[in-house]
């Protein structure tokens, strides 16, 4: 089998990032459904949190590869 253990680590990192950003998206949708007039603020916060998590994910991917 080609590849090495690094690839499994990279896959785990992406799973973590996916779960994290997915949960943020879900909470953001719930919040928007409750209060549609606060959509802009919620969107901003959601994007910020997603970018932070993605930053860690990328850093880990680089460390792994």
């Amino acid at each position: 089998m080609e590849g090495n253990l690094h690839l499994i680590g990279a896959g785990l990192v992406v799973i973590g990032v996916g779960i994290g950003i997915g949960r943020i998206g879900g909470s953001a949708l719930d919040a928007i459904a409750r209060q549609p007039e606060a959509t802009a603020k919620i969107q901003t916060v959601m994007l910020i949190a997603a970018a932070l998590i993605e930053g860690i994910g990328f850093a880990a991917l680089f460390a792994v590869s």
Partner: protein, 372 residues
């Protein structure tokens, strides 16, 4: 403008839908020695395409000492222009990168230099690199050359200067209303002030940081956008560039911080004394890691994004089938759209986190922290 909006849209969609037919074009022959190429082709025709894809990826994602727009692989000629090489090797050497021809060492003032994988090594007159564990072990002079990235940064700086100067001057000439091409950026400048600077830094102190925040926001945004063009100028995907930006943030935070900021790091109020000793090193490391994470976030997003995009485009040529290539084209198109969003998003995130760190540095003392 156009005859009708709907047929304009339809023609654009039709144009994009027929673009994958370009994949049926024949690939150009590789430039390297023919015997090697023929032998490899007999073994594995895919390896040849993969080599070319590697070359294209490196061209688009890495920095280079001369500006190459595209190359004609059949004749080996490259279209572009050379950039000045500036070396410090005991003395100052300045020459054009067109002196680095294939297989010969560039000679300047009695010293010979060779360019290998975009690094400059000092060699003897024969131009031979001595290998050591796979890497050349010759001496390297200090390299201050104007590379592709430096050239682009200077160009973007000039562009920004002209744009925003004309915006600033138009207010006086036009009675308080912006005019000219800078008009487009006025709402964005106000956005940076009202949504990024004031909420994070506060009304009292935001003005002295505004110039840095605006510069960083537009600089990163313009550099990212330029990286999306097909010229292969990936500046923010270079860790030295993001390191420079993050270091400036760190320096500004450190030198404009108030006493409360240092108190919160070294001697946090409202916490029992043994905990203070434990928290101090952690907070100190945190103060260094915050700009470090800024650097890594921007670098990784831009570098990985471009690498993935180039790999997908390369995959189009590996498939060479009726169904695989158009689907891969669709995927790379969608990822390009996401990348365009990421350019603005990363600039916004960098600026917002920088403003957050500035705000933490000049935060007013909140009474009630240690008065229990």
């Amino acid at each position: 403008m156009v005859f009708s909006k709907k047929s304009f849209l339809y023609s654009i969609v039709a144009l994009i839908a027929f673009l994958p037919s370009v994949v049926l074009a024949n690939p150009t022959e590789p430039v390297s020695e023919n015997k090697e190429a023929v032998a490899k082709e007999n073994q594995d025709p895919k390896a040849e395409i993969k080599e070319q894809i590697e070359e294209v990826k490196n061209h688009h994602v890495l920095d280079a000492h001369s500006f190459t727009f595209f190359g004609d692989a059949a004749t080996g000629k490259e279209y572009g222009f050379p950039l000045p090489i500036i070396l410090w090797d005991g003395g100052l050497h300045v020459f054009s990168s067109s002196k680095f021809e294939e297989g010969k060492a560039a000679e300047d003032g009695g010293n010979y230099y060779v360019l290998h994988h975009e690094k400059i090594y000092k060699t003897g007159a024969d131009g031979i690199l001595t290998e050591h564990e796979g890497h050349p072990s010759n001496a390297t002079p200090l390299d201050f050359s104007i590379t592709k990235g430096v050239f682009t940064m200077l160009l973007i700086a000039l562009l920004m200067f002209l744009l925003f100067r004309s915006l600033g001057k138009s207010y006086a000439k036009n009675g308080g209303v912006a005019a000219g091409v800078g008009r487009f950026f006025e709402p964005i400048v106000l956005f940076v002030r009202d949504e990024i600077a004031i909420p994070n830094i506060g009304e009292r102190h935001y003005k002295k940081y505004m110039s840095h925040l605006l510069t960083v926001f537009f600089f990163i945004w313009f550099l990212n956008v330029v990286g999306m063009t097909p010229f292969g100028i990936n500046v923010t995907g270079n860790i030295s560039v993001t390191f420079g930006l993050a270091i400036i943030t760190f320096i500004i935070t450190t030198f404009t911080a108030k006493k409360d900021y240092w108190m919160h790091i070294f001697w946090m109020p409202g916490v029992p004394v043994p905990m203070k000793f434990i928290l101090a090193p952690i907070e100190l490391i945190g103060a260094i890691i915050k700009p470090f994470s800024l650097m890594i976030r921007l670098y990784a997003n831009m570098f990985a994004g471009h690498l993935v995009l180039m790999s997908l485009i390369g995959m189009m040529f590996v498939f060479k089938s009726w169904i695989g290539s158009p689907l891969t084209f669709g995927l790379s198109f969608i990822i390009s759209l996401i990348e365009i969003l990421v350019t603005l998003l990363q600039a916004y995130i960098f600026t917002m986190l920088t403003a957050l760190y500035f705000g933490a540095a000049v935060e007013e003392h909140h009474h009630g922290d240690e008065h229990h």
